[in-house]
């Protein structure tokens, strides 16, 4: 009987583990490629901006959505398109919090591939430009 009773528990844990397997890879990719600058909780420090509670703001405009891919940390990372898309999605789910104002359509490898071929040069200017446009659109609403 004991064995039988365990069955649903085991099947449940199998499903839970399958899910955590994927997130294990994403977390590892984030740790190895991004965490050194962006810190474990996405808070950043110094010249590394906080993604925690803020990164979702960029998703309010197409230019902002593209910015998250074209920022050099993302675009020039050693990750494949697929894994970069997964890391960016993880960042949004994990760090955006209340800054995400509308339903998020996850990035895909196909979306990320052409964008990252054009890493930004004048990052700070572009970032300001994107944020001002979003703030302006908000003010007009």
């Amino acid at each position: 009987m004991v064995r039988l009773l365990l069955l649903p528990v085991l099947l449940w844990s199998a499903a839970a583990l399958a899910a955590s397997d994927d997130s294990g890879r994403v977390v590892f990719d984030y740790q190895m490629n991004c965490q050194g600058c962006h810190t474990p909780d996405g808070a950043g420090a110094g010249s590394v901006p906080a993604m925690q509670g803020h990164v979702g703001v960029f998703l309010q405009s197409q230019a902002g959505r593209e910015y998250l891919v074209r920022v050099p940390g993302s675009a020039t990372s050693a990750l494949s398109d697929e894994r970069l898309a997964a890391v960016l999605n993880w960042i949004v789910y994990e760090f955006a919090g209340d800054s995400l104002q509308s339903p998020f359509t996850p990035y895909t490898a196909a979306e990320v591939a052409p964008l990252r071929k054009h890493p930004l040069n004048e990052v700070d200017d572009y970032r300001q430009h994107v944020l001002r446009a979003i703030a302006g659109a908000d003010a007009r609403e």
Binding site: L17, F28, G36, A43, G44, A45, G46, S47
Partner: protein, 172 residues
Amino acid sequence: MNFFDKVFEQRSRQLAQRSSRRGLLKGLGAMLVGGASIPLLPVARAAGAEGAGRPVEEGDPSSCDYWRYCAIDGFLCDCCGGSANTCPPGTEMSPVTWIGTCHNPADGRNYVISYNDCCGKSSCGACLCMRDEGDRPVYRPDKTNDLNWCLGTSSVTYHCSTAIVVGVAFDD
């Protein structure tokens, strides 16, 4: 009676009503066999993953050949009044850090190591250790030079380096 007992009692009663006793036993037997073999894999993996978070520790953290230092470049905090995990008193740990993976010979696994610098006092000067094995992330060439690893702390003065295990490396 707990939840599973209840569900199973109910289920077996329904089954018993609908099928012969032999049929019930056959069904249960199949479930037992299935239950015993299929989920063994993830459970074994769960046990492995649990142990993997905590590396088996061997070696001397004040020695440059200690396993966690495979990608370190600096003074070992363990020789400076701190440890491989902590900053010496009077210094502050930088949140911005090098990340690498090191192989732990004691348990045969690879771990993600964060080399957080301790900042706020002049160079410790003891146990200089420069090992550039293991992978480090590819940094932006234009940012590497001006990215002081004591950024984000109140003082930019470098004192020593820690080597903190932050995860298990995900092998392909």
